[in-house]
């Protein structure tokens, strides 16, 4: 991918332009602070040396020595260095924070517009954590930029002061700086970048390994293999540790550059200044020492360049697809649905209530996700009002459905914010009505903040059952022609489930919505008069244990014959 095609770099450039004045102030402050630091020590040395010479030459020389100006300048530089440094940090961070405040929503909009399979891929904790880390890495592009200006400014001041004594001394300072920068960049490129990537890979392999073994932990314990598994995983720990150590060693080399070059350069500058007065020699020598120290900040930027590059590439991967424009459909469109699944074809007319059953892994949830355009249809022939979802576009598809997913996902926020996803303009009365259907009205009424109660990160303050019912209430609030419910009563006790199913039945009768229900529980299945059974395996050469004609009663009768215990 070329630099110009990188969407995240383009976004960063745009924000850098927008924050140009702040970044210029931060850079100027950094440069000023660095220059002041160099001048402060240089001038102090010059002042001391001058004073020593004057002091030794008797009272006339003392009277002639202008001590007011340098001593005032010293105080001024001390204060200027502090103020400029404060301004650099504050303005630099302001630029970064304001730029990130623009980049985050743009990035989010980009993610939302990306192909749908990416949306499902990003919803795992691991993937989200990666994304957040990458965005944070981009932030350093704004904060670190002033380090370069600080380095250049300190070197320029030191060169100017050295040049007052001997132009060759200025060249020595420049050469030391050039060596420091080019060796630093070389180390960054050749010794820091590889271990950074290797550490990332090793950590990934270690996590994959842990997850694989954790899935077999009971087996490991039965055969006494826990230690062997840990030993196996520690190979990746060794790889990760070695990679990190290589990174630190590269940093140690970078860190050694600065004092080594400082000493050699200072000795060189002093040797070249031996013909000058001690005052001027002190000025050049001390300025050289401070300037090369000040340029050290640049090295850190080299060390981080690799990480920023990796982060930018990953973000580009997420944002790469161009958004597609889709046509629109009528707002009150209430189409029927045709599902061609394998050799079964079902026609779902508006307002009908359908149950989808089948063992886990048979694709019930997948079917609902296809309908709400969170997944590509694949080989199945699915038509909405006679049109294919990929021809309609995701927005037109989604407008047809109110979806309560199996994982009952919540956004971190209040009850109201979660319900408002379904209908931003809903009144309190409407919200309480759907909470009533979901058998949650009482629970919410008991909370001191009511609808404005904070439900924790991802709804963590609610129990699993409460989350599920809130998710159901949210779906009921959305005025869509079809309601898609995935295991809405899972984990409820029988009494609550019965109340909920009854309330849901009258709600459906009132709204006339169609229903597609995935459930393994009997009570909600009673809402449906038609059924799609996904357990039929047409390619099976053995007689399937559960055929389409199998009713729950048949199943129960066969269980009974074998001595079955029903629990729950």
């Amino acid at each position: 991918m070329t630099a110009s095609a990188s969407p995240i770099r383009a976004l960063v450039r745009q924000e850098q332009r927008r924050q140009a004045s702040r970044m210029a102030i931060a850079a100027a402050s950094a440069a000023g602070a660095a220059a002041a630091a160099v001048a402060l020590l240089g001038l102090s040395g010059w002042f001391l040396a001058g004073a020593a010479v004057a002091g030794a030459s008797g009272s006339a020389a003392i009277m002639a020595f202008n001590y007011l100006l340098p001593s005032a300048a010293i105080r001024f530089l001390a204060i200027a260095r502090t103020g400029l440094r404060y301004s650099e940090r504050l303005v630099g961070h302001a630029a970064a924070l304001k730029a990130l405040a623009e980049i985050r929503p743009t990035l989010f909009a980009g993610l939302a517009a990306a192909p749908v399979d990416q949306a499902l891929g990003l919803s795992s904790g691991e993937a989200t954590a990666h994304l957040v880390q990458d965005v944070n890495a981009i932030e350093t592009l704004f904060v670190r930029q002033s380090a370069a200006w600080a380095g250049v400014a300190s070197i320029l001041v030191a060169m100017a002061l050295a040049a007052l004594v001997n132009p060759w001394a200025a060249l020595v300072v420049l050469a030391a700086f050039a060596i420091q920068v080019s060796l630093g960049a070389w180390i960054g490129r050749n010794r820091s970048r590889d271990p950074a990537g290797e550490a990332l890979r090793a950590a990934g392999a270690l996590k994959d390994g842990v997850q694989a073994y954790a899935a077999a932990s009971a087996e490991l314990r039965c055969y006494g293999l826990v230690e062997a598994a840990v030993d196996d995983l520690m190979r990746f720990d060794a790889r990760l540790g070695a990679a990190r150590r290589r990174s630190w060693n590269a940093m140690a080399e970078m860190g050694a550059l600065q004092p080594a070059l400082t000493g050699v350069a200072a000795a060189g500058v002093l040797a070249l200044c031996s013909h000058a007065s001690p005052a001027m020699a002190a000025l050049a020598g001390l300025a050289t020492v401070v300037a090369l120290e000040g340029a050290g900040g640049l090295l850190q930027a080299f060390d981080q360049a690799g990480a920023v590059q990796v982060a930018a590439e990953r973000l580009d991967g997420v944002l790469a697809a161009p958004p597609v424009q889709w046509g629109t459909v009528q707002a009150d469109w209430r189409p029927g649905i045709t599902l061609g699944l394998g050799d079964q074809v079902h026609r779902l007319n508006p307002g009908e209530h359908w149950a989808v059953t089948g063992p886990s892994g048979s694709g019930k949830t997948r079917l609902l996700e296809i309908l709400v355009a969170l997944r590509d249809a694949g080989p199945d022939e699915i038509l909405l009002g006679g049109r294919r979802p990929d021809a309609l576009g995701p927005q037109a598809c989604r407008a047809l459905f109110a979806y309560a997913p199996q994982d009952a996902r919540m956004i971190s926020g209040t009850v109201r914010e979660n319900l408002a996803l379904a209908d931003p303009g809903a009144s309190d009365a409407a919200m309480l009505a759907v909470l009533g259907v979901a058998q949650l009205a009482e629970k919410i009424a008991r909370l001191p903040e009511g609808l404005d109660a904070w439900i924790g990160e991802g709804g963590a303050r609610l129990s699993g059952g409460e989350r599920r019912r809130l998710s159901l209430a949210r779906a009921l609030l959305r005025p869509a022609p079809w309601l898609l419910l995935d295991e809405p009563t899972e984990g409820l006790d029988a009494a609550t489930e019965a109340c909920l199913v009854a309330a849901l039945a009258s709600h459906l009768a009132r709204t006339g919505q169609g229903l597609i229900l995935v459930s393994h529980r009997q009570a909600p299945l009673g809402l449906c008069d038609r059924r799609i059974d996904l357990s039929a395996q047409p390619d099976s050469d053995l007689p399937p244990a559960t055929s389409e004609s199998d009713s729950e009663a048949d199943l129960a009768a066969r269980d009974h014959a074998r001595g079955v215990v029903m629990v729950g």
């Binding site: 102090s44 040395g45 002042f47 004073a51 020593a52 004057a54 002091g55 530089l77 260095r81 502090t82 404060y86 940090r89 961070h93 924070l97 990130l100 929503p105 989010f108 909009a109 993610l111 919803s123 989200t128 270690l206 842990v210 694989a212 073994y213 954790a214 077999a216 932990s217 009971a218 087996e219 314990r221 039965c222 006494g224 293999l225 598994a229 840990v230 196996d232 720990d237 540790g241 070695a242 990190r244 630190w248 050694a256 004092p259 080594a260 000493g263 000795a267 040797a271 031996s274 892994g361 969170l374 997913p405 956004i411 931003p424 129990s463 949210r474 984990g491 244990a545 079955v564 629990v567």
Partner: protein, 550 residues
């Protein structure tokens, strides 16, 4: 920033974990600390060489030459010290992290096993261990340098000029006062903002995580607005905190600059003899230059320590997480050897759960598996089939009721692991040969026994194709199909002479042909064993003597 400079009580838990974790690397950390302290001493030599060289410049290269050589040598020695310190602490971090990682991994198969998100929790713990890196490599040596460095500098400066040393020391008192004031104000400001900031900074991650939901409800535009609003508020509020927080770093800068300026002005006036009072110390040009060159070094260790503040915060937060994880109770281990003949397994009003999920309860369950019988547990995902099986190996908590094997209760036994052969959905394959992997179930088995077990499990064809039992498997069995891996799991069952066989979804995701073949092998493995199996497959359940529906 203040907290980086003043020793304070370690956070609950995390601190003690960090202390014990660093123990095995004490020697290396001492070396690293020694290197940074030596670095400070050489800084004094550098300052002396600089002053000596400048003073002797007019007396010709033969006089100033050795001083310049000393100057360059001191600088190279400083480079060497810094380099050695970082290498030592990086090596120490390697040891500390490996040590912690081994504990975390062991916990992953112990304390964490059976948790709903054991794998993900373990993965997060692996990141936490990595966050200790900067703490060990950068913060600890910086702390050592900051506790010794300023004193060394001050003492050496006092040898040359007690008054200059006094001036440096005098800047320290207001500096500490400012740190306390700014630190308190910053802490207060961030405390007030912390809750709101944590919530707001989480909005982006939260909305990304909820993206499928937002798309389904066509709420992405509003979510984008929320992300934008939260991001803007984060920037405003963070800046308000930073305005105060940066005061402490500005204070550090200011007093560092001030100590240079005060020393320079005092020494200058003293050399001019313009001080209004008479001083006994008789400052020479060389000594004046020496203390001037030392002045910036006085504050340098404290500045480096402030620079490592972030590493300290990350390390301590991670240590706190790890401490909580490692303090969690380990799973039960078997106390007795258990039965040798197929036993009866009796579930009486069993309620199972997890320590970390008080809401999640399975049961009550009542059933008895007769000796030598096959029992199938059936029920939808999440109904607790696997949890019941995990009770037997001590990986789930028995909340109430009794689980007994031949009359011996789970509470007495702790776990029944020695009597169980377990075959799951994804059998663990360790790097090594196929035969060796099977023999893990019963170390010391003869080659003949292994071969018999393998062919009983239907692995004969695989062995032929791979060129014998000794053929190496690639990384964690990557080259085996799902069905073949499960046959390895079954071969272990045939090899281990265990009276109880537990099968966790042994035919999930298999096509119907492989399922049929697997069912035949399972039926064979069940002979002479009491079998519990969790399954969704009615075809597999058909071989059971009893079906328990959850």
């Amino acid at each position: 920033m203040l907290r980086a400079l003043t020793p304070h009580a370690a956070p609950p838990g995390g601190g003690s974990l960090l202390r014990t974790a660093v123990d095995p690397a004490t020697g290396l950390m001492r070396l690293a600390s020694a290197a940074v302290v030596v670095d400070t001493v050489i800084a004094v030599v550098f300052a002396a060489a600089l002053a000596g060289a400048i003073v002797r410049l007019p007396r010709g290269p033969t006089v100033f030459g050795p001083w310049l050589i000393l100057l360059a040598a001191a600088a190279l020695a400083r480079a060497l010290c810094g380099w050695a310190a970082l290498r030592c602490s990086a090596q120490a971090a390697l040891i500390v992290k490996s040590n912690l990682r081994r504990q975390v991994l062991t916990a992953a198969f112990g304390a964490l096993a059976g948790r709903a998100l054991a794998g993900e929790t373990a993965a997060a713990a692996i990141d936490d261990v990595e966050a200790i890196d900067g703490y060990v490599v950068r913060y600890l040596p910086a702390r050592a340098a900051a506790s010794v460095g300023p004193i060394v500098i001050l003492a050496c400066a006092a040898l040359a000029s007690p008054i200059a040393a006094g001036l440096m020391l005098a800047t320290l008192a207001p500096f500490i006062l400012l740190m306390i004031l700014a630190g308190t104000a910053a802490a207060e400001a961030s405390r007030r903002q912390l809750d709101a900031l944590t919530r707001l900074s989480g909005v982006f991650a939260d909305r990304v995580r909820a993206l499928p939901l937002l798309l389904a409800f066509q709420a992405e535009d509003r979510a984008t607005e929320q992300v934008a609003r939260a991001a803007r508020q984060v920037s405003v509020r963070t800046l308000a905190v930073l305005k105060i927080a940066f005061v402490s770093s500005a204070g550090l800068e200011f007093f560092a600059a001030l100590s240079v300026a005060l020393v320079a002005v005092y020494a200058g006036f003293s050399l001019l003899g313009l001080l209004p009072f008479n001083l006994p110390e008789g400052l020479t040009f060389e000594r004046a230059l020496f203390v001037l060159a030392l002045a910036p070094e006085f504050y340098a260790p404290m500045r480096r320590l402030a620079g490592a503040y972030h590493e300290r915060q990350l390390g301590e937060a991670a240590a706190e997480n790890l401490q909580a994880l490692l303090a969690a109770p380990m799973v039960a281990v078997a106390q007795t050897a258990g039965p040798t003949a197929p036993p009866a397994i009796q579930f009486t009003k069993v309620v199972a759960g997890f320590a970390d999920e008080p809401d999640l309860r399975i049961g009550p369950i009542d059933f008895t598996a007769a000796p030598g019988s096959i029992t199938a547990l059936m029920g939808p995902t999440g109904s607790g089939k696997t949890t019941l099986l995990r009770l037997l190996v001590g990986e789930a908590a028995l909340v109430s009721g009794t689980l007994a094997v031949d009359g011996q209760t789970l509470t007495e036994a702790g776990a029944f692991t020695p009597s169980i052969a377990w075959a799951g959905q994804a059998p663990a394959i360790l790097p090594g040969g196929l035969g060796w992997n099977i023999a893990l179930a019963a170390p010391g088995s003869s080659a003949g026994a292994i071969e018999r077990a393998a062919s009983q499990a239907g692995l004969a064809e695989v062995i032929l194709r791979r060129g014998g039992l000794d053929a190496d498997l690639d990384e964690r069995g990557g080259g085996l199909s799902g069905g073949e891996r499960r046959r390895v799991g079954l071969a272990r069952v045939f090899l281990k002479n265990a009276p109880i066989l537990v099968l966790d979804e042994p035919t999930a995701d298999l096509d119907s042909e492989s399922e049929a073949a697997m069912i035949v092998a399972i039926r064979q493995a069940s002979r002479g064993r009491t079998v519990l199996m969790a399954t969704h497959s009615e075809r597999l359940a058909a071989i059971a003597d009893q079906v328990v529906r959850l």
